[in-house]
Symmetry: C2
C-alpha cells in the first residue's frame, strides 16, 4: 500500500556563509503526496548535484537564472524520475522523465517542465548530465562562445569535471591543441590517457602555474574555458593571445565567497589583447537545445565523446555528494542514485 | 636658409612609475635632417596626445599595439604634418599628411605609414582626431563591440573626452537612451546641452555612484562603453542587464598604476547576466577604416556629430598637454598646434 511507503525530503536548513556543510541541509520524513487531476506521482531515480547550485543559496535577487533556494523548503536540482501513478494521459505510468525536481523521494508534479526520457537512446541518467544541462553548458560555452578554430590552443580548467571534460573533448574534435587543468595525478592521467587531451596540468603540483601553462601552450592561449576562477584564472589569463575568447562557465573557486573575490582587474590586458570574457547560462540557448542534444547523443553513442559518472547511492547521500564538489575530488559528473527504474 | 632653421625634439627621458611628470620628457635642439631619395622633409602642424600612450611607456613587451617608447628616443604620436621638401613624386611639396610621427618640429620620413589629408573635406587636424584614431575607436568600439540596439540604455564613461563624446553621439544616433559620466558640471552641461545626451552623471558630485547610475538608467545598462575603469567601472557594472556588452576602450584610471589594479572579480556577475566584456585596439579593424572614416566625415559635415577640440599652441607644450589628460580637465580632443600650414 502506498500509504505505508516511506517518503523523505531534504530541505535548505541554514544559509551557508562560506562552503556548505551538513548543517546547510536537513532531512525529514514527509507524507506520500496524492496526484491531482492532470498531475503525476514521481519517484526520484537519479539526482544531479552541480556546483552552480551554490549560487542559489545566497541571499538577494541578483541571479540571472531566477532560482533561489528558500529556507525550510526542499532543495531542487536536475533529476531523473519515473511516473508511478498518473492522472495525465501524456505521461502514463512507467514513463521516465527529467526536470528540475525537489529533493524528495516521491513528489507530485504537473507536466510543465518535465521532459520524457527515451531509455533506448542512452542510459537514463545521461539526460541530466551529458545529454542534459551539463553537456549543453559545455556545448554552447565551447562552440558558441569559445568558437575554437582548427589549430588553436584551448585551455580548460576543471577539465576532469562534468562540464570541463565534455568541453575539452569538443575542442579536440574541432582540431585544437587542448590543455586541461586539474588537481590530481589521477585526473591528469584521465585527461591525457582516457580523453586524449594534448596535455594535462596539475595545478597543485605545478609550482608556478603561469609558467606551467606557458610551457603547455607554446603558441599561447586562444580559448580559455574557465570553470574555476580565482588565481587559476589569472595564471591562464597571463598567457592569452590576441583575440582570445574567455568563456566564463563556472567559478567554483568563488562560489563560497560571500562577496565578489578581489583580484587583478583584467581590463588592461583585455585591451592589449583585443580579448573577450563572456559569461553565459545554458538556458540562454534553450531555442537550440534539441539540435545540441542530438549532436551530443551522436558523439556519445559513437564513442567520440567519453563520459564518466561519479555515482553515489542513497537519497541521504545528497548533501555529502554536493559538499564533495567543492573538495575537487570527483572525476566526471557527480550523480546520486536514489532508486532503480521499474 | 634651411640650415639656419631651428629644430627641436622631445624625447622619453625617464620611465614614469606612476603618473607622468615633466621629468618624463626632455626637449632638446637637434639638427635639420636632409631627406634621402624617396623621402620627404615634414614639418609638424598638429600633434595629438592620447591617454593610451601611457601604456607605451611601460617596460616589457606585452603590448598588443607593438609600440614601446624607448628611453632617449623621441616620443611618437598621431600627427598632421606638411611636406616642406620632397624627394618622392607621390608626396609633392605642400602636401598635408598624417601618420604616427616623432615629436620633432621637422623630420624626414619615407612615405610608408603616411596618409594624405584632403584639406577641402574637413579641418586638417580632424584627420588625427574625429576622422582619425579617436573617431575610429569610438566607431568600432560602439558599433562592432557594443552593438547598441534601438531603445537600449548605453552608458559611456569619460563621455566628455575625445573618444567618449563621439561614442555617446553614435549611441544617440542609434536611438538609445544615453547616459554620460564625466567629472565636472561644465562637462555635464556639454553632454546634456551640446551633445544632446539623455542624462549626464557627475561622478565627483554623485555620492553613491552606483545608485546615481541606477537612477539615470531605470531600465538597467545594456551597453557600457568604458574609458575609465576602476571604481567607476564597478558602479556601472553593478547595473548591467542580461546580455550586456561592456566595451573596454580605455582605462585612464589604471594607466598610471605599475601593476594591474586590484578590484572585485567580474566573473560571477558575467555569468549571472550572460554578459560580455571585450577589449579592442582600433587597428584590429584597419580593413574597415575607409568606410568608417567616410561615415564619420558624413556625420561630421552634416552636423550630426559634434566635436570639440582642446587646442594648445606651441611644440614645447606637448608634455603638459599629455600630463593634463590624467587630470580630467579637458573636454573633447586634446591637440597641440605646432605650426600653421603654408
Amino acid at each position: 500500500m502506498k500509504g505505508e511507503q516511506q517518503n523523505r525530503e531534504i530541505v535548505f536548513a541554514e544559509r551557508p556563509s562560506g562552503t556548505p556543510t551538513l548543517d546547510t541541509f536537513s532531512m525529514r520524513d514527509i507524507g506520500m503526496p496524492q496526484p491531482q487531476v492532470g498531475e503525476v506521482l514521481l519517484k526520484s531515480l537519479y539526482i544531479s548535484v552541480d556546483p552552480g547550485m551554490r549560487g542559489f543559496m545566497d541571499k538577494g535577487k541578483d541571479d540571472g537564472a531566477g532560482i533561489r533556494f528558500e529556507l525550510d523548503k526542499p532543495i531542487t536540482s536536475r533529476s531523473v524520475a519515473q511516473v508511478m501513478e498518473s492522472r495525465n494521459d501524456d505521461l502514463p505510468k512507467g514513463t521516465i522523465v527529467h526536470g528540475r525536481l525537489a529533493w524528495q523521494e516521491y513528489q507530485t508534479s504537473k507536466p510543465d517542465g518535465l521532459e520524457q526520457v527515451d531509455p533506448s537512446l542512452a542510459p537514463i541518467a545521461t539526460s541530466v548530465s551529458i545529454l542534459g544541462v551539463t553537456g549543453l553548458a559545455a556545448y554552447f560555452g565551447m562552440i558558441n562562445i569559445g568558437q575554437p578554430q582548427k589549430g588553436e590552443t584551448v585551455v580548460i580548467s576543471g577539465a576532469a569535471g562534468a562540464v570541463g571534460s565534455v568541453a575539452a573533448q569538443i575542442a579536440k574534435m574541432k582540431g585544437c591543441h587542448v590543455v586541461g587543468i586539474a588537481g590530481s595525478q589521477t585526473k591528469i592521467a584521465y585527461l591525457e590517457q582516457e580523453l586524449g587531451l594534448d596535455k594535462g596540468v596539475n595545478y597543485k603540483a605545478a609550482g608556478d602555474l603561469e609558467e606551467a601553462i606557458r610551457k603547455a601552450c607554446p603558441n599561447g592561449v586562444d580559448v580559455f574555458f574557465d570553470n574555476v576562477g580565482g588565481e587559476l584564472f589569472d595564471a591562464v589569463f597571463a598567457n592569452i593571445n590576441w583575440k582570445a575568447r574567455i568563456v566564463i562557465c563556472g567559478q567554483i573557486a568563488g562560489y563560497n565567497s560571500p562577496d565578489p573575490q578581489q583580484g587583478p582587474r583584467p581590463q588592461q590586458k583585455l585591451i592589449k589583447k583585443s580579448a573577450r570574457m563572456e559569461g553565459f547560462l545554458v538556458f540562454d540557448h534553450r531555442d537550440r537545445f534539441e539540435a545540441a542534444k542530438k549532436q551530443l547523443a551522436e558523439w556519445y553513442n559513437s564513442g567520440d565523446l567519453k563520459y564518466r559518472e561519479n555515482l553515489v547511492e542513497g537519497f541521504e547521500k545528497l548533501p555529502t555528494a554536493f559538499i564533495g564538489l567543492f573538495k575537487g575530488e570527483n572525476i566526471g559528473k557527480q550523480m546520486v542514485k536514489v532508486a532503480d527504474a521499474q
